[in-house]
Symmetry: C2
DNA sequence: GCAAAAGTGTTAGTCCTACACCCATGG
DNA sequence: CCATGGGTGTAGGACTAACACTTTTGC
């Protein structure tokens, strides 16, 4: 599947696809990038097929770049979805196929296993662009009950579950926040992912203890009340923390 | 691939395989079940292909049962290995294929992605049996530097890494130990997986605090010196701990 | 000056670590 | 009766959770 609108199945491996749960953070909400299919107006995760000469990671990178315009995105494989009936659950697409009007859709009938990736991106930098099958590419709140195709809703839920677990022993935020951010913003991100509130003071202490933040001599202007300091990630230590893991837990 | 010695590729999906890292515990050593290939005498992980109408989990269950004779094994997907060159790294097999003497081997030339599973089994209950391509099925110490095909050595290392991490927030042991076991045995298991020694007294306290053990009114006989108590897992709480996770960390 | 948000501090409790001591068994 | 290994207890330190106080800013 390419952006040019053709689908040359010779370039890809049959039966193997991947789906990306692309998380972004905006207005205190955790968002997921979705596509709306032209034909059924249902929603789907950005995905694609594995090229004959690429790794899954390369394929995911490709999909990610095509939908968001970004390179060098943090992403991670988290589960393979291989239920043989996963492609058969969708009545709307099946009906469409049966009309015979859309030959492009025929490969949806095949059985696919799909490798789930999740990715973390800076919401403000993403330029969402739809693929060949969709007419819209848009952010949705992660909890929104939209009509998703196949098992995509389940894939999102699983990704969120893994992301939450990840939070306990890996730093998160570098890819989800702008370069400069305030401590309350970072906290809000954590609270949103975890789905519960955290103590402001303990959060700050713990975060600082990780040594992955640089405090800037700058405060966030324009906001009301006392202006918070700005921080940036200390990339060297951040990277080290990614590899070695963090001690604390949320 | 079946035990009867035929390989009907129509029954399986192309390009998708799975490999199982089957861990067992014996004589204070962490072992991995391996196969020795008939042709090259190299070692391989038990694996197979995904059937057209089964989930990866079912396929792994099938492989596991065929090699060990056991059902209901604890297992988990941990990573997909998708390097396009992963099937090309093996010179020995390539040489054999080039001779043309073993047509069975031809599908090794294809590109496969392989889903890695790890499984935990009771060493004493396993009856290792080789598959069609191998002449021997045997346990090897997880650290033994044997000539493994393809990236199988890397798959084992990755599985061990994941297992270690798992140890911090999931109970382990039910599938690796006999029904009744002593605290020192359980500790030895943990030490072996983690690759370092633990304090005997703290270990006992922590384990008991998880409430996943039933202390039996019975002591291990025959051993020297003071005879230790026997324990069994409290399956109800064990299951709960599997789902909800443990607090402590090693 | 008051309300709201942010920065800094304190304290109690819990958990982890590192030991010390006693008990049972085989030789 | 001593060496070895197993069972139980305890003190110190680190980390966490809960909460108080002060500072800054907009109205």
């Amino acid at each position: 599947m390419t952006d040019s609108g053709t689908f040359k199945s010779d370039d890809f491996l049959d039966h193997i696809s991947l789906d990306c749960v692309i998380f972004g953070f905006h207005n205190g909400e955790l968002k997921v990038l979705t596509l709306r299919l032209k034909y059924t107006k249902e929603f789907a995760l950005p995905g694609g097929f594995l090229g004959k000469e690429e790794t899954l990671e390369d394929a995911a990178k490709r999909v990610l770049q095509e939908r968001t315009g970004l390179k060098d995105i943090f992403m991670k494989q988290f589960k393979v979805f291989s239920d043989p009936d996963r492609s058969k659950t969708n009545v709307a697409i099946q009906d469409l196929i049966n009309t015979g009007a859309h030959p492009d859709l025929h490969f949806f009938e095949k059985r696919f296993i799909s490798v789930g990736f999740y990715a973390l991106v800076d919401f403000t930098k993403v330029k969402p662009s739809p693929d060949f099958f969709s007419d819209k590419c848009e952010w949705k709140n992660v909890n929104e009950q939209a009509p998703y195709i196949l098992d995509h809703k389940k894939i999102i839920e699983k990704a969120l579950e893994v992301l939450r677990r990840q939070l306990s022993y890996q730093p998160i935020g570098y890819n989800l926040l702008p370069e400069k951010f305030t401590m309350p913003e970072l906290q809000k991100l954590y609270e949103t992912i975890l789905g519960r509130e955290l103590d402001r003071r303990n959060f700050q202490r713990k975060m600082l203890s990780y040594k992955i933040l640089n405090k800037l001599d700058e405060r966030k202007k324009g906001g009301a009340y006392k202006s918070p300091f700005l921080y940036e990630f200390n990339l060297e230590n951040y990277q080290k923390a990614l590899n070695e893991g963090l001690s604390g837990s949320f």
